[in-house]
């Protein structure tokens, strides 16, 4: 298929998936909307839909909603990192679902360093975040080495690790680390020099972590498309026997991509911590890992599209939360929309009939072009 037609197909397919998801969302909103008559329900649901789709960027007056927009950008931060982590692991066909536990562990380790390490100046930020990343990278050795050496499913192991991480962190919090002077379980405050500065200080927590996220995205793209290791990871995802036959080290690649994925998830947790909080108080898995999977699927496992996909998800999340505040539709609608978009995006046969048509048209165009150039050369 020509590049133009192939792009056209991707766009049509993406829009169709979004359309189906929004249609389903509307049906759910309609069902949950208040109002006695059909008309009242309809107008209420349209109002709710408006809250979800427009309010994140437009105020009622029609003006740009700067604060909401900052919230969206801030919301991108953790899911950019889990998205990148998932991209790199999925690119090698490694279904490691450990970004969820990874981001929690990274947040925790970063928090500890930020509280207890007497490191001067902004160096503390760097050390704390790297420590968070490294901790998760080390943990990801477990599922990855087991997969590479014993063929044990990385998926089940990474899922199990999510729970193990959560409970052990909660145990450490309860037993040793909590600030007992507070009513709820939280750590002592971070050192002042550990706090990530804000890009716009309006309470959105739109920190420089966002910029780091963009920077890491670019690095990830370079890693995946401009280094031999990223190349090996991508080729393994396409055809593992080919990679072995070509003389690359398949087990090493399987381990490498998960360790890097772990590092990114952990780093994301650390940045989220230092950019949004003054102390660590998570007691459950945050859900960013799952959203990260959606982000990676939407981005087609290409890091460069991660910010876009993360923006989209963050926008929808904000929209859903506005809708729940102002139109009384529960914010968790996002989880259903997300799952539906995800399912259709990942469906190989979705709109395959349409693709077939484009392929045929492409082939015909090519033949016509060839015939035309043939005539020319004959003359």
């Amino acid at each position: 298929m020509s590049k133009k037609n192939s792009l056209k197909f991707s766009v049509v397919r993406a829009l169709a998936a979004l359309g189906i998801a929004l249609l389903l969302a509307f049906i759910l909103i309609f069902v949950s909307a208040e109002g006695g008559s059909f008309g009242a329900k309809m107008s209420n649901s349209l109002a709710a839909l408006q809250q979800m789709l427009l309010r994140p960027i437009l105020k009622k007056s029609g003006k740009f909603a700067a604060k909401n927009f900052c919230d969206i950008l801030a919301g991108m931060i953790p899911i950019m990192f889990t998205g990148l982590a998932t991209c790199i692991m999925f690119a090698a066909n490694q279904f490691n679902l450990g970004a969820e536990g990874g981001i929690m562990l990274g947040a925790f380790v970063t928090a500890l360093v930020a509280i207890y390490a007497p490191i001067p100046g902004p160096l503390l930020i760097v050390v704390a975040i790297l420590a968070g990343g490294l901790a998760v990278a080390v943990v990801m050795l477990i599922p990855s080495v087991l997969k590479a050496k014993l063929g044990v499913s990385e998926m089940v192991n990474s899922l199990m690790l999510n729970y193990v991480i959560m409970y052990i962190l909660n145990f450490l919090m309860n037993s040793y680390l909590a600030d007992r002077s507070k009513g709820i379980t939280q750590t002592y405050a971070f050192r002042e020099n550990a706090i990530l500065p804000q890009i716009i200080d309006n309470g959105s927590r739109f920190s420089w972590g966002w910029a780091i996220g963009i920077l890491v995205t670019i690095l990830c793209w370079f890693f995946m498309y401009r280094t031999r290791w990223g190349y090996g990871i991508r080729m393994t995802g396409i055809n593992q026997p080919f990679v072995m036959y070509s003389g690359m080290n398949v087990p090493l690649i399987i381990i490498l991509c998960q360790v890097i994925g772990g590092f990114l998830a952990g780093m994301g947790g650390g940045i989220e911590m230092l950019g949004r909080y003054q102390y660590y108080n998570w007691s459950a898995l945050p859900g960013y890992g799952w959203t990260g999977i959606t982000v990676a699927i939407l981005a087609g496992n290409n890091p460069i599209f991660v910010p876009l996909a993360a923006f989209f998800m963050s926008y929808l999340t904000k929209g859903c939360s506005l809708m729940s505040m102002n139109a009384n539709v529960p914010a968790q609608l996002i989880d259903i929309i997300q799952a539906v978009i995800f399912l259709f995006f990942a469906a190989q046969q979705f709109l395959s009939g349409y693709r077939q048509k484009l392929v045929i048209r492409s082939a015909q165009e090519e033949l016509a072009a060839k015939a035309a150039s043939g005539e020319r050369s004959d003359k």
Binding site: M1, F222, R226, T227, R228, Y231, G232, R234, M235, I238, N239, P241, F242, V243, M244, Y245, S246, G247, M248, N249
Partner: protein
């Protein structure tokens, strides 16, 4: 008198959607109660013809009659209902089920309407087993029984479904000689009971022993029907093994140098305990092309697997420039400058959804010249891929195009470009031009000759006679896991002579064969 025929396939032509013409105006008639051989080289169109008879493919043109009645065989289920059964070369059995369970799959006898009547399944199995004198153990799991018995289960499966006409696709390929002898007794007994058998095989002695008549296919066309007792093996081999298109490749006489690849007394027993390589010894020298001819399945695949580290031999040695390569992985083999053009190019040769460029650098992605510190040196990579695309005349829009979107010939050129260009000392070319267009074929052949003349050792494995005879400086013929013959030069070789060795009619003396070791 159409009633005397069990099967009549009239004027069958099959064109696949990609344009391959597999059969062209083939007439194939099988009399009731005979054993009819269908012969031909790989790619002669036997499988396609039989797939159409079993409802797996539909003919583009032509008519099929079963017992004189014109039928449309739209699926195997229909074919089965018309009394046609097929014993596939790759068994259609479920390994963890017992023989009896496999027998009744899809037509399970039940008691009280819900549960499997296993006793009845066993009874059916034993009854058929006895009636046709095909001994099987009804209660054994299929994974635990020997290959020969698996085959009997396949035959019984067809019989129990009411087949009167049996297609046997290379039934002896996986059998030991005792098992083959046993099978033949059984097949003969089936024949006396009025069954019609279609027997696909390459093995001449088997054909001579068991069949009444034969149809020979070559290049998708029928070469006629013959009474087995009226033809000699030589005639058959001439009809079957023939060169249609002769692509001439000019080459100077080889001036072989030192030995590069040295294989001695290589043996390999596969996981079912069948000996696939039997004391194979050969040497390939600098600057020469050694060809390996032979009907497929005679140990060539296993030999390549040993040479490129996919399997470990049970005995024997392999050295390349004096270094033993047994136990090396593919990375180490490539570090020793050994290249392989793999037989299965879609499985090993390429990553289909990656670009041409990405496919061309897979063996050298870590080379210094393509890296600047941690990053790829994209300029160098682009330059390399551009150069290779040009040198190997890969027809594409750019090196960034997906390799899977290219034609077969161009895909193979990408594989070959990579394998030929990384300074190899030994190239193993396994069916390098199979299924690709004439232009690409000619190009790859010329390139192989050119490389060998520049001092590279080339081992060429090909089922295409024309190819091995044209390209090889000297050649060996493999048959039954052994080297059956060695020819120092290919000048005076005839198809006829080759065919006799390939089909096991003749076998050289050990001394003659030993000459390939150049000691």
């Amino acid at each position: 008198m159409s009633e005397e025929y069990a099967i009549q396939m009239k004027g069958i032509t099959k064109v696949y959607p990609n344009g391959t013409v597999a059969n062209q105006d083939v007439n194939f008639n099988v009399r009731k109660g005979e054993i009819h051989a269908l012969m031909g080289e790989n790619g002669a169109g036997k499988s396609t013809l039989m797939k159409m008879l079993f409802g797996l493919e539909q003919p583009t043109e032509g008519e099929i009659l079963v017992n004189g009645e014109s039928v449309k065989l739209s699926s195997p289920t229909v074919a089965i209902s018309k009394g046609i059964g097929m014993v596939h070369q790759h068994f259609m059995l479920v390994p963890s089920l017992t023989v009896a369970e496999n027998m009744v799959l899809g037509m399970v006898p039940t008691r009280s309407g819900a549960l499997i009547d296993y006793d009845k399944a066993v009874k059916i199995t034993e009854e058929y087993s006895k009636r046709f004198n095909l001994k099987v153990d009804a209660n054994a799991k299929v994974m635990d029984i020997p290959v020969g018995m698996k085959q009997k289960v396949e035959i019984l499966k067809a019989l129990v479904r009411g087949a009167k006409i049996l297609i046997l696709d290379e039934p002896t390929a996986v059998l030991t000689s005792q098992e083959t002898a046993e099978l033949f007794t059984e097949l003969k007994s089936l024949k006396t009971q009025g069954y019609t058998l279609i027997f696909i095989s390459h093995k001449l002695n088997e054909i001579m022993e068991i069949t009444d008549r034969m149809t020979i296919l070559r290049g998708g066309r029928s070469m006629g029907v013959h009474e087995t007792k009226n033809v000699t093996p030589q005639e058959i081999s001439r009809l079957m093994v023939g060169r249609d298109v002769v692509l001439k490749v000019d080459k100077d006489k080889a001036e072989p140098g030192a030995t590069v690849l040295k294989v001695r007394d290589l043996e390999f027993v596969n996981e079912w305990g069948k000996k696939m390589l039997d004391k194979v010894s050969l040497s390939v020298r600098k600057g020469e092309i050694l060809g390996i001819a032979g009907v497929e399945g005679n140990g060539q695949k296993e030999l390549v697997d040993m040479l490129f580290g996919f399997e470990t031999p049970n005995a024997g040695t392999i050295t390349v420039n004096g270094v033993s390569t047994i136990g090396m992985n593919q990375r180490e083999l490539r570090e020793h400058h050994i290249s392989l053009v793999p037989e299965d190019r879609m499985l090993y040769g390429i990553a289909a959804t990656a670009s041409i460029e990405e496919n061309m650098i897979s063996d050298r992605a870590s080379d210094k010249r393509f890296n600047k510190g941690p990053l790829f040196n994209m300029a160098a990579i682009h330059e390399e891929s551009k150069r290779l695309v040009k040198d190997y005349t890969v027809l594409c829009k750019s090196a960034q195009q997906q390799v899977g979107s290219l034609s077969g010939g161009n895909i193979q050129k990408v594989v070959v470009a990579r394998e030929f260009s990384n300074d190899p000392v030994l190239i193993i070319a396994d069916q390098p031009t199979r299924g690709i267009d004439v232009g690409a074929t000619e190009f790859i052949r010329k390139k192989l000759v050119e490389l060998s003349r520049s001092g590279i050792a080339v081992l060429l494995i090909s089922a295409d006679l024309n190819e091995v005879m044209e390209l090889s400086d000297s050649l060996i013929i493999m048959c039954g896991g052994q080297i059956a013959a060695y020819f120092e030069d290919t000048e005076n070789l005839t198809d006829d002579l080759m065919g006799r060795y390939m089909l096991g009619i003749e076998h050289q003396s050990p001394e003659e064969i030993r000459r390939v070791c150049h000691e």
